[in-house]
């Protein structure tokens, strides 16, 4: 019987320190076995369970885009046992990976539509994956206008600065970066993500809004989007719930009649309103 609990091996190729407080690192991983690389087919919005053998496993959203299949990238914030242990690993070390897991962003449905991508802090990982996917060569023409709103507490806490610089240079993406308070040399927006979204006032016409960030940010972004005229079925959230097995068995991520790890983590607001109880912001 095939065993979905056994990870395949990946080697750390590079570790990128993302934030000035040194708490978030992006790990660039290469497949140890060729067959694993060939069979790992994913879409932005999915996640994987990363193992540090002896410490445990934790779920991370795919920060890389499938259009560059050589490596997988995951951004890790050092908080607990597994993330702490990951931060102590470096180039050449071996980790385990189980995935791809979850439903990912509905790329089919996004074809021909405008996209409003709203991310906060660390939750921007999968939106970076999605943005890079959309911007990749021929993919771009399949989608309409792309607006990205991304905020962090301070400029030094923004992730993926190389990507952000590259996106700034492009004319086919509208990038709005924001930090919570004024900062030396900061030329972008100042204010919380929901407020900045409101001030940009993107049109809901033919547009999907995709939101990923801390629960409080998502909670306050929702009414802004509704005020701007977005319908429930056009607002997508990528949710976090504590996850363990990632395959809908251990029960931990049960939310209403759904499992965040298999039915999500991407849910539309209309799906969420139909769920009983704690799924509501």
């Amino acid at each position: 019987m095939e065993n979905p609990y056994i990870p395949f091996l990946m080697r750390i190729e590079d570790v990128i320190l993302e934030t000035e407080d040194r708490k978030i690192k992006t790990f660039v991983l290469a497949f140890v076995n060729e067959e694993d690389r060939k069979s790992f087919v994913y879409v932005p919005g999915q996640f994987a369970e990363i193992s540090v053998f002896g410490k445990g496993e934790a779920p991370f959203g795919m920060a890389s885009t499938p259009t560059r299949p050589e490596y997988l990238e995951f951004s890790v914030s050092t908080i607990g046992v597994v993330t702490g242990a990951l931060h102590n690993l470096g180039k050449g070390d071996i980790v385990g990976v189980r995935g791809p897991l979850g439903n990912g962003y509905p790329l089919e449905t996004f074809q021909g539509k405008n996209l409003l991508l709203i991310g906060g802090g660390f939750g921007f990982s999968t939106l970076r994956s999605l943005t890079n996917y959309i911007l990749h060569g021929p993919n771009r023409t399949a989608f309409g206008g792309v607006t990205v709103v991304y905020g962090a507490r301070k400029p030094g806490l923004l992730l993926y600065r190389t990507d952000l610089e590259a996106w700034k240079e492009r004319s086919d993406i509208s990038l709005h970066l924001t930090v919570d308070q004024e900062a030396d040399g900061w030329k972008g927006h100042v204010g919380l993500v929901p407020n900045v979204t409101r001030s940009i006032a993107p049109s809901p016409k033919n547009t999907f809004a995709v939101v990923c960030g801390p629960p409080v940010m998502m909670k306050y972004t929702l009414p802004v989007l509704k005020d701007l005229g977005f319908q429930d079925e056009d607002i997508l959230f990528s949710l976090e719930m504590r996850m363990k097995c990632g395959i809908g068995k251990c029960g931990r991520c049960n939310m209403g009649s759904k499992y965040v790890c298999t039915d999500g983590p991407v849910f539309s607001q209309s799906e969420l309103t139909r769920l009983t109880g704690e799924a509501h912001f």
């Binding site: 019987m1 095939e2 065993n3 979905p4 609990y5 056994i6 990870p7 091996l9 080697r11 140890v32 193992s51 053998f53 002896g54 410490k55 445990g56 496993e57 934790a58 914030s77 908080i79 607990g80 993330t83 071996i94 385990g96 801390p214 629960p215 976090e240 719930m241 504590r242 363990k244 097995c245 395959i247 809908g248 068995k249 251990c250 029960g251 931990r252 049960n254 209403g256 009649s257 298999t262 009983t276 109880g277 704690e278």
Partner: protein
């Protein structure tokens, strides 16, 4: 029940039948340990304690052990080597299972079987035979009937034994069971025996209906009521005495939540899974520090919602088989039947 799928086993043949099973299989059944009845491995026919109430733990422990190794790993020169689980060789016989616990395994089969097969559960399940013992005299704590089961139901069992005093009626509940009935130790039944069995079953059900036993009124309505009352203050009242321990979930034949963790040595170790409970405070505690279920109230409510609302919403059997263990073993006697009655009676605000 008909003469095609039911036979007789004379009571004096039972020991021989069990010894036969023990020869080639690992047999589990109710065993007497101190003041308790426990569902555990038996080494001999007279190690089984049949026909006396139900065991404290359920048969789920065999297929879904509380602590189970997923794999071992070793740091070597080539990186990390992983050793998966070794194959189970012998068959498992779960003997003397009560109809409620057998029905619970139907739900576990679905959880662990779909959409991805859990190989740890699946391997054991594939070589497991379930031989149940009907409940001629249900206990006051039992309410299987109210939740779609029955004290003499063969649902989920391969064979069901029904005690008729001098002999057992043995009914097949599955193709595997039909095959087992071919064993020559089973004799042909007749219409008279079937009629006696019918009477036993009716009396068992009737005794559950008397004096409030088994009358819970669970049905589709409870699903809708629970949905409507999710934010109702009635939950404050219901959950006030709950201790937040894991007894209800651990003894429950259908509860299946687990955690995965690593046990590490110097250069080798193993990844194991262990039972976990939605009643424990850290179950939904997120890395960011947010916990969507911060108190006993939300966690107790989740258990009821998951069992009686969410699972049925997904077209599953409810996550309760009416075994009554949570009712008798809860240290503060929180009674799920009373919870259901309160919810049913409550007008949504």
């Amino acid at each position: 029940m008909s003469l095609d799928n039911a036979k007789i086993l004379e009571k004096d043949q039972l020991e021989g039948f069990l010894e036969g099973l023990l020869k080639d299989n690992i047999v589990f059944g109710p065993t007497s340990k101190g003041d308790l009845l426990l569902f555990d491995r038996v080494e001999s026919a007279n190690g089984i304690s049949l026909g006396r109430g139900n065991t404290m733990n359920s048969a789920k422990d065999v297929l879904f052990p509380q602590t189970e190794r997923l794999f071992a790993y070793r740091h070597g020169e080539a990186g990390v080597e992983i050793d998966g689980p070794s194959a189970v060789k012998k068959g498992f016989i779960l003997f003397g299972v009560r109809p409620c616990d057998a029905r619970g395994l139907i739900l576990l089969d679905k959880v662990f079987g779909e959409p991805l097969q859990d190989p740890y559960y699946g391997e054991k399940r594939a070589r497991t035979v379930i031989i149940s013992m009907a409940c001629e005299t249900p206990d006051p704590k039992c309410f299987c009937l109210a939740i779609g089961g029955g004290p003499c139901s063969a649902e989920g069992s391969d064979l069901l034994f029904l005690d008729l005093g001098d002999q057992y009626l043995v009914k097949a509940g599955s193709p595997k069971g039909m095959d087992l009935l071919k064993n020559t130790v089973f004799k042909k039944a007749n219409k008279e025996v079937l009629a006696r069995a019918d009477v036993v079953e009716k009396e068992a059900e009737e005794s559950m209906n008397q004096a409030g036993m088994g009358r819970v009124g669970i049905g589709e309505t409870i699903e809708k009521r629970l949905e409507a009352l999710f934010n109702d203050p009635i939950w404050d009242d219901i959950t006030e005495s709950c201790l937040g321990c894991g007894i209800c979930t651990y003894l429950c034949p259908t509860c299946h939540c687990f955690d995965i963790l690593d046990e590490a040595g110097q250069s080798a170790g193993e990844r194991i899974r262990i039972w976990d409970s939605c009643q424990f405070p850290l179950f939904t505690h997120q890395a960011s520090g947010v916990n969507p279920r911060p108190s006993v109230k939300e966690r107790f409510r989740q258990r009821i919602m998951h069992k009686l609302c969410y699972l049925p919403q997904n077209g599953n059997l409810p996550g309760c088989v009416g075994c009554g263990r949570c009712v008798t073993e809860c240290p503060v006697n929180l009674d799920i039947r009373e919870v259901i009655q309160k919810i049913s009676a409550r007008e949504a605000e």
